[in-house]
């Protein structure tokens, strides 16, 4: 007790100083809006940064889930879209009552490309869906900006597709403006271009015409945008144009794709 008193007396000036400073600080924080706000906010300057970084990391890891859910939603929307288009085509040419005309020939399955090549003579890619998800050989694969390929082999979990950049790929395509149709093939030129063959010479073509899928095969629905006419010519003595088509989709960057399950194809093949 004595020591404590001695201590207090000895350091009384310092204690007084500390006391007064504390009073001043309390006054500052209590009566100045600025300082109070700063006091409350300045912790946020630091913690905000931490939270922000953590949030970014969290969101980054969560992006995959978000993208997957968006892709499946896209697949649903594409299914509806193709079915509706098909139904409209059907209605235009028939006198049947409306409810019997509603067709649902398509089902779209979303998938991701996990392996891809563009620099070979015959290119393939692999997707992360297999027969368990309803993938079967011969189904068409479309991509956000065009078409990608045709399923070649499917096992339970994965499926391999021949890319449209494959010597065996022949896609029935037509010119949107006048409905002339031909076969789209790849001639190992450049992964950005394909050749549309068998368009007769009387067809009226200009550079920039839109090329779409014709819908005459059981692979792709009608009307998927493939690319545009880049240049065209006739090879000596031929009655058909050779049209170089600039692909809208960059095949080298395929990531999310949609597999078209065309039910009529199944019925045909059975």
């Amino acid at each position: 007790m004595n020591n404590l008193l001695l201590f207090i007396i000895r350091y009384s000036a310092f204690l007084l100083f500390v006391l007064l400073e504390m009073v001043a600080l309390v006054l500052i924080v209590r009566y100045n809006d600025d300082q109070r706000d700063i006091f409350l906010n300045s912790s946020t300057v630091f913690s905000g940064k931490v939270y922000n970084a953590a949030d970014k990391a969290y969101k980054y890891s969560y992006l995959q889930v978000i993208a997957d859910s968006l892709a499946s939603e896209n697949a649903k929307l594409k299914t509806e879209l193709f079915n509706l288009e098909r139904t409209i085509q059907h209605i235009e040419g028939s006198e049947q009552p409306l409810d019997s005309c509603v067709l649902e020939p398509f089902r779209i399955i979303n998938a991701r490309v996990i392996n891809n090549s563009i620099d070979q003579r015959n290119n393939h890619f692999t997707i992360d869906r297999g027969t368990n998800d309803g993938i079967r050989n011969g189904m068409g694969v479309i991509s956000p900006h065009g078409i990608a390929g045709i399923i070649d082999q499917a096992n339970e979990k994965y499926a391999t597709a021949i890319s449209i950049l494959h010597s065996a790929a022949r896609i029935s395509a037509s010119i949107k403006r006048n409905n002339f149709f031909g076969s789209l093939v790849w001639r190992e030129l450049n992964p950005a271009y394909m050749i549309l063959e068998a368009i007769p010479r009387q067809a009226d073509i200009v550079v920039g015409d839109t090329i779409i899928t014709s819908g005459y095969s059981f692979i792709y629905p009608r009307g998927i945008f493939i690319g545009t006419v880049h240049r065209f010519w006739t090879e000596g003595g031929s009655n058909y144009y050779t049209i170089e088509v600039k692909l809208h989709e960059d095949i080298s960057r395929l990531d999310r794709v949609y597999v078209v399950d065309y039910k009529e194809m199944q019925m045909q093949s059975q």
Partner: protein, 174 residues
Amino acid sequence: MNRETLRHIIRGMLFLIVQVLILKRISSGSQWLWLNGEIFIYPIIVLLLPIRLSRHYVTLISFCLGLFIDMFYDTVGIHAFALTAMGYARGIILSYLEPRGGYQLTMSPTRHSMGINWLLAYTSLLFIVYVFLYFTVEIFTFVYVGKILVKTIITFLLSMMTIMGYHMLFNPRR
């Protein structure tokens, strides 16, 4: 209350009037003080207190003076905080600058009594404490340490010029 005390009180009031009515207007309302520097002269009241006055009194007087100025600057506690620290630091600086043989009874912290070198060291050391703490508490976060330093330096230079000008012009004996 003797003449000595009365002299300090009257002089102090004059400094307060100059600070509140003149210097405050110059610093708060003008663009030509770059980066919102301030000019403080009133801490000279604490600097001019008699050397032998006890630390308790100096600290207490500083606190009250700071609160008084706060009333005019609408900054409750900020001047009080900085000036209390300066008042307490005064004792430390005084013993640090103590001449050989200690302080004489007749000595007071003025140019007339201690010489220009001593006064310059004494004033600038204490003033830097005051100004730095003032802006630290005003801005209240070390996130803007650059802003604090710039304001401290500008205000320090301006205030030192004012205070040394006072010492040069009036050369107070006590």
